[in-house]
Amino acid sequence: MADPAAELFNYLTVGGILFALGLIGFLVRRNMIVMFLCAEMMLQGISISLVAWGKYHANWGGQMLVIFILTVAACEAAIALALVLMLFHRSGKLDIAFWQEMREDGQPAYVDREIPEEREEDKVWPTLTPAGRLPSRDPEIDLHRSRV
């Protein structure tokens, strides 16, 4: 590419967009799994920018940092998923808004003012085989779980 600055800017744009998308997803979505996906997406945006800067300056720094980002992302994913599982065990949901229970005393609940009706044409979902052993069904617990 003829103009290194222009090339850099292209990659920075892509990285920035990826970062912004991840940010939006992290803040808008309520599913904890999706939120962590979005966090990883932000890391990807940063990675692209770093590699582009490294190329522009013609040194290894960018790529080295991205390697460590990969490492840290893997650690983060492990810990975060374990925590998500814990939270899931406690609440039976992957909903981050459930944990609004931990708000200050006397503050009103903020979420779930309205739940949009699901349209018929949207009710098309892939079915996945549940992984692992079939858990023992406790009807008491099932009553309070959203879906199992």
Partner: protein, 804 residues
């Protein structure tokens, strides 16, 4: 030799202090109902010590007496020492002796001189008897130990008050007796009246104390010292402890030149280095204000009658015999200062005379036995000030003599009234009981002796002292008449003849000798009138209580009998002394000779024309006749059917005037036959409305005209006397209410503006915090959004404001 004297000087106040501490510590738990024992024993010990001290002082003053008097000063320790605190101006320094630079130094010093030792023996004696009396009177009261602690504390304060040899310490104990008085008046503090009376006494005394404090400041800045006695040199004080005693008899002035002269010390009196003129007058008037407060002189007399809310022994001890005489003592001690300012002396005399007259008039109509005695006390204190106000040695000694005898018979009267009160179940209104002479024979006899003494019937104590005062007034009037007749126009000139060396003292005065002569003549007649009134109201109270049909109030119950021996014993002792001590001291000339050896009285201009102790037959006869007249009038009015009393009091009350105010009576005119006839006739011709209207107009006019006359009802002589000349109401309207309003206003400001600001400072963070609290909504994405917005704000700030 000295050590015995020193021991006695310390023992006299020390024993009551020890008793107070002991009772306070062990009273509530260990001593309980036996709390009076340590106090009585200590007071008795203190009395014996003061008797021994009196004897010692008498002996020494007789040995060394003569010009200059006798004083002995014992310095215990130094309380305050601020080196070079004041630079006097050179003229002052020359006047005061010593250097111009003065240390502000207060040594805790006790003194022994005739005046002090007389006061000490009187105070300790009365207080011992009162403590014995109180042991019976207060039996079973709640806070028994507290009462005796206060009594012991009071005796300590009072003995210290008369013992100390420094104005600052005098002020300290002046306040201390005030505090004890406050505590004892409010002893029954659950009673609202008692609590209010205590506060009133304390607050009224503050006015006087303010004047006293100002006087002390003036004395400090003009004389450069607050000590009564001379201080030889600073070095000799700081040496050994026993050194500072200063026998000051007949020392040559040159010895004194190097040391500091005390304010009322023999050296200063000899040098006659006192301030006259404006400053001297100011000092004396301010001192007099202080004395007015403590001794309940007009216009600060209002607290003493209310102080009768306290237990009766307290009334006897503090509010009749001892504390209230502190003002008299102080003025006597400061006699040289007053001598330098004839106007001040005249003021003392006028204030005393006014108080004596006013209180006597009020006492005529009171129904409360203790209040009659209280106003009588105020009146007698006025008498003492009359004596002091003459400025002659005769008068001052007479004032002190009256103080001395009055303490006995007034304590007797109060304790007698306490005995009555005890028997009547704390009822003291004379309208509710009468004829108690058979029920309480001892009280009756002793009370009669006290009354006779107070009225001034010849062989008894009161006669001698009162007669001495009247005689001194008579003499003083003569003295000024002679002075003015001799062509000496100004008393200042008369005074300054003896002290030509003093530049500033004895500046020209406002009063001429002739005016003073007229003044003292008027005061002489006034004293006679007051003596008449005294005899009258004393026996009025006596007859109302002990004569007439035997009536006992319901509250008395089974108490209505003679009091126990612990109460009757002191009554008997006091009765003997009230009867005899005046005559004894008068005939032996002991008191006058002894007291006049006090340094304050033993030199200077006070040594006037008249030697004390001479007997004036004409004056004595006059005052005896006056007193007997008062007693006879009281007997005539109150021993019979009392019809005349009714008639007199209704006349004095201007009852006719008050009947004019009666609307119903005026309206009854309408029913008179001729008016009714006119009205009926007018009605027949149809003019009924006219006559009705005219009648109503006339009625209205009549009411308008009679209203001012009805006002006369409220200022009728009887009503004025009964309502104490409305002094309480006047103070209420002019002082209490404005201050209360101001206080309420300030309280409002404090509460809503000052506190409001403080509370705002407290509430603001709370409110802000609760605002921030609503942000803690527990939504993780919301926190993330906050971070995002914060980042945006930071970037915007960087772009917009941060330079590059």
């Amino acid at each position: 030799m000295d050590s015995k004297l020193h021991l006695l000087m310390v023992l006299v106040p020390g024993l009551p202090l020890a008793a107070a501490v002991l009772t306070a510590l062990f009273g509530p738990r260990q001593l309980k109902a036996a709390s009076h024992w340590p106090v009585i024993l200590a007071l008795a010990g203190s009395f014996l010590a003061s008797l021994a001290l009196l004897g010692e002082v008498k002996q020494r003053s007789a040995e060394t007496g003569g010009q200059g008097g006798y004083e002995h000063v014992l310095a215990l320790w130094t309380w305050v020492d601020l080196p070079e605190a004041l630079r006097l101006d050179p003229a002052n320094a020359k006047l005061s002796g010593g250097s111009a630079l003065r240390d502000f130094r207060i040594d805790v010093t006790l003194r022994a001189d005739p005046l002090t030792s007389t006061m000490l023996s009187m105070v300790t004696f009365i207080s011992t008897l009162v403590a014995i009396f109180a042991a019976g009177y207060m039996k079973g009261e709640r806070g028994y130990w507290r009462f005796f602690t206060y009594i012991a504390l009071f005796v300590f304060s009072m003995t210290m008050l008369v013992s100390v040899s420094n104005f600052a310490l005098l002020f300290v104990f002046w306040e201390a007796v005030g505090v004890c008085s406050y505590l004892l008046i409010g002893f029954w503090y659950p009673k609202p009246d008692a609590a209010a009376a205590g506060m009133k006494a304390f607050l009224v005394n503050r006015v006087g104390d303010f004047g006293f404090a100002l006087a002390l400041f003036l004395i400090w800045t003009t004389y450069g010292t607050l000590d009564f006695h001379d201080r030889a040199t600073a070095a000799s004080f700081s040496g050994e402890a026993a050194a500072p005693s200063a026998e000051s008899t007949g020392d040559s002035p040159s010895d004194r030149a190097t040391g500091l002269m005390g304010v009322v010390s023999p050296a200063r009196i000899k040098a006659n280095a006192f301030w006259g003129g404006g400053v001297g007058l100011a000092i004396c008037l301010l001192l007099m204000l202080g004395a007015c407060g403590k001794s309940a002189q007009f216009p600060l007399h209002v607290w003493l009658p209310d102080a009768m809310e306290g237990p009766t022994p307290v009334s006897a001890l503090i509010h009749a015999a001892t504390m209230v005489t502190a003002g008299v003592y102080m003025v006597t001690r400061c006699t040289p200062l007053f001598s330098a300012s004839p106007e001040a002396q005249a003021t003392v005399a006028v204030v005393g005379g006014a108080t004596a007259l006013l209180a006597g008039l009020i006492a005529l109509t009171q129904h409360d036995l203790k209040r009659v005695l209280a106003y009588s006390t105020v009146s007698q204190l006025g008498y003492m000030f009359l004596g002091l106000g003459t400025g002659s040695l005769l008068g001052i000694v007479a004032g002190m003599f009256h103080l001395f005898t009055h303490a006995f018979f007034k304590a007797l009267l109060f304790l007698g009234s306490g005995s009555v009160m005890h028997a009547m179940g704390h009822v003291i209104d004379m309208r509710r009981f009468s004829g108690l002479r058979h029920l309480m024979p001892i009280t009756h006899v002793t009370f009669m002796i006290g009354c006779l003494a107070l009225a001034g019937v010849p062989p008894l104590s009161g006669f001698w002292s009162k007669d001495a005062i009247v005689a001194s007034l008579h003499e003083q009037a003569h003295h000024w008449q002679e002075t003015s007749a001799d062509g000496k126009t100004s008393p200042a000139k008369h005074a300054s003849e003896e002290s030509a060396t003093i530049p500033k003292a004895n500046a020209p005065t406002l009063l001429s000798a002739a005016a003073l002569a007229r003044l003292y003549q008027a005061l002489y007649y006034l004293a006679l009138v007051v003596a008449f009134m005294t005899a009258f109201y004393t026996f009025r109270a006596f007859y109302l209580t002990f004569y007439g049909p035997e009536r006992v109030p319901a509250e008395a119950g089974s108490h209505a009998h003679e009091s126990p021996w612990s109460m009757c014993g002191p009554l008997a002792i006091l009765a003997v002394l009230a009867a005899g001590i005046g005559g004894y001291l008068e005939w032996t000339h002991g008191f006058a000779h002894f007291v006049s050896l006090a340094p304050s009285l033993a030199g200077g201009p006070v040594l006037g024309t008249e030697k004390p102790g001479e007997f004036h037959l004409t004056v004595a006869a006059t005052s005896t006749l006056v007193a007997l007249g008062g007693i006879l009038l009281a007997s005539y009015l109150y021993l019979g059917s009392k019809r005349e009393v009714q008639w007199l009091s209704s006349k004095a009350n201007l009852d006719e005037l008050s009947s004019w105010m009666d609307v119903e009576r005026v309206a009854r005119w309408r029913n008179k036959p001729w008016i009714a006839g006119i009205h009926a006739n007018a009605k027949t011709v149809g003019l009924g409305w006219l006559t009705l209207m005219l009648g109503n107009l006339l009625l209205f006019a009549a009411l308008l005209l009679t209203a001012p006359m009805a006002l006369g009802h409220y200022v009728s002589p009887y009503r004025l006397s009964y309502r104490k000349f409305y002094w309480d109401e006047i103070y209420m309207a002019t002082v209490v209410w404005p201050l209360q309003t101001l206080g309420l206003l300030l309280a409002w400001i404090d509460r809503w503006i000052v506190d409001g600001a403080v509370n705002l400072c407290g509430r603001l963070p709370t409110q802000l915090g609760s605002l921030m609290r609503s942000l803690q909504m527990g939504l993780v994405p919301f926190y993330g959004l906050a971070m995002l917005l914060g980042t945006l704000i930071l970037i915007a700030a960087k772009l917009l404001w941060a330079g590059s």
